[in-house]
């Protein structure tokens, strides 16, 4: 029994598959929640890292570059263990779900920061010159001129990372997050049948990523190409 649902092992494989579907869908919901929270962290932190890396002062840009490289070149699993076991030593006690979502966000902020940077650098130099000519302060130029043009260009690339994050959520199962793969593993441990639940997770993942990729492509074509109108 899991989440108040019972599995049916007495009436063949199909009845079993049908009986565990609600449990897997509960897991799928957790997978989606973790993806969204992780993606949100990655979007915010990635932008911060991108801005810091682009800073003129090397005291700011070098540490940011190092952090990005470090986050990108070390495994998510190890980062997750690090956060899960070390944060409590410093009095930061988070639920496993939040720790997992944070780890996802940290890992992917390294990737999103590169995306943002490419988007920011793709804004024409003329825009900066025009802003300077109009006496707009640098901070305001960045938030009101550069970002509105950079963000729509990078959203499709960011969306692809959202799909990648979804595929990395199963790693969170190692810190007891009950996402889809963990649910399937528990069902397998208790019914001795891994084939049906794990194959169903594979199928559900295929559907999930195909749908998500289609949405990303739709957003890509329906975005304003010349920048977001601010008013």
């Amino acid at each position: 029994m899991l989440f108040g649902y019972h599995w049916d092992t007495a009436h063949g494989e199909w009845a079993f598959a049908l009986s565990i579907l609600p449990m897997l869908l509960r897991g799928l919901l957790v997978t989606l929640e973790a993806s969204v929270v992780g993606f949100f962290v990655a979007m915010v932190l990635g932008l911060i890292l991108a801005v810091l890396k682009g800073a003129r002062s090397r005291i700011v840009s070098w540490p940011a570059t190092f952090i990005t490289e470090f986050l990108r070149d070390t495994p998510l699993l190890v980062q997750l263990f690090f956060l899960y076991y070390v944060l409590p030593d410093y009095g930061i006690i988070l639920p496993a779900f939040m720790t997992g979502a944070l780890a996802l966000g940290f890992q992917y902020s390294a990737y999103t920061s590169e995306v943002y940077r490419a988007g920011i650098e793709a804004v024409e130099p003329g825009q900066h010159e025009a802003a300077k000519a109009l006496d707009i302060p640098p901070g305001r130029t960045f938030t009101h001129i550069v970002l509105p043009q950079a963000v729509p260009r990078v959203i499709p690339a960011l969306g692809n990372y959202l799909v990648s994050i979804m595929k990395d959520v199963p790693v969170l199962s190692v810190v007891t997050v009950l996402e889809m793969l963990n649910v399937a593993k528990i069902i397998g441990d208790q019914t001795f049948d891994y084939l049906v639940p794990l194959s169903m997770v594979g199928g559900l993942y295929l559907i999930l990523t195909l749908v998500a990729s289609a949405i990303v492509r739709f957003v890509d074509v329906s975005l304003p190409k010349r920048g977001l109108p601010l008013r």
């Binding site: 070390t74 495994p75 199963p170």
Partner: protein, 223 residues
């Protein structure tokens, strides 16, 4: 326990990680070229197999694939009366290699398609067979274009080997977990292995850069 004493057991784990990474990268490279070229094949059967392989392994999570090969495949084998129990090393290398190979396949396909059409037309005009056109004209130009993406994928694969610890393969992440259980010194141990993975990734990047440099001469036309 002083942190230096952790280094010996951890370096044993790192050696397993390196072997895993090397074998799965080789398998991944073979699969990437086979299915990337297969996806462009005019033969619908080869094309179909390549597309299904790429979509399945790109569309699902690596950990799901790993668990499927390790836990579910033996049961599937039981149903058809074949013993498909894989040792963890084989399951790990298979899952990692097949997964990264599917990502690499898209890189291979993209790079081959990016070779100018004129090149194929010229090859045809000079009476090259399609096989010769692929091996002697298209690939030498396409491979240098693939190298930056391959570098990223190789590092990605190195990081992914950590997941093999979850099917009881005693790699670096597994050793770290063992030591942590024993000594409860998580901060030191995990800091060490984060830097060990980082170091390995830097070395791997340097190797891939060197490889990229050495194949980049294929791109130049000899005069």
């Amino acid at each position: 326990m002083h942190w230096v004493e952790f280094l010996k057991p951890l370096s044993e784990g790192a050696w397993v990680t390196i072997q895993l990474a090397v074998y799965s990268t080789i398998l991944g490279a073979v699969m990437a070229f086979a299915s990337g070229i297969g996806k462009l094949s005019p033969n619908w059967f080869i094309k179909g197999i390549s597309v299904v392989y790429i979509e399945v392994f790109r569309g699902t999570s690596l950990l799901v694939q790993l668990f499927w090969l390790y836990f579910a495949l033996p049961i599937a084998g039981d149903l058809i009366g074949v013993d498909l129990r894989l040792p963890p090393v084989v399951a790990g290398v298979l899952a990692l290699g097949l997964n990264i190979g599917a990502y690499g396949a898209e890189v291979v396909r993209g790079a081959i398609q990016a070779v100018s059409r004129n090149q194929y037309e010229a090859a045809r005009a000079l009476n090259f067979t399609p096989r010769q056109a692929l091996w002697r004209i298209a690939l030498p130009q396409a491979i240098p274009e693939m190298m930056p993406s391959f570098c990223n994928l190789a590092v990605q694969n190195l990081k992914d080997t950590a997941l093999a610890s979850l099917i009881s393969l005693s790699d670096l992440a597994f050793k770290a977990e063992q030591l942590r259980n024993y000594y409860q010194n998580s901060e030191t141990i995990y800091t060490i292995i984060l830097f060990m993975y980082f170091g390995m990734a830097l070395v791997l990047t340097a190797i891939m850069r060197a490889l990229e440099h050495s194949v980049s001469r294929w791109r130049r036309v000899r005069k």
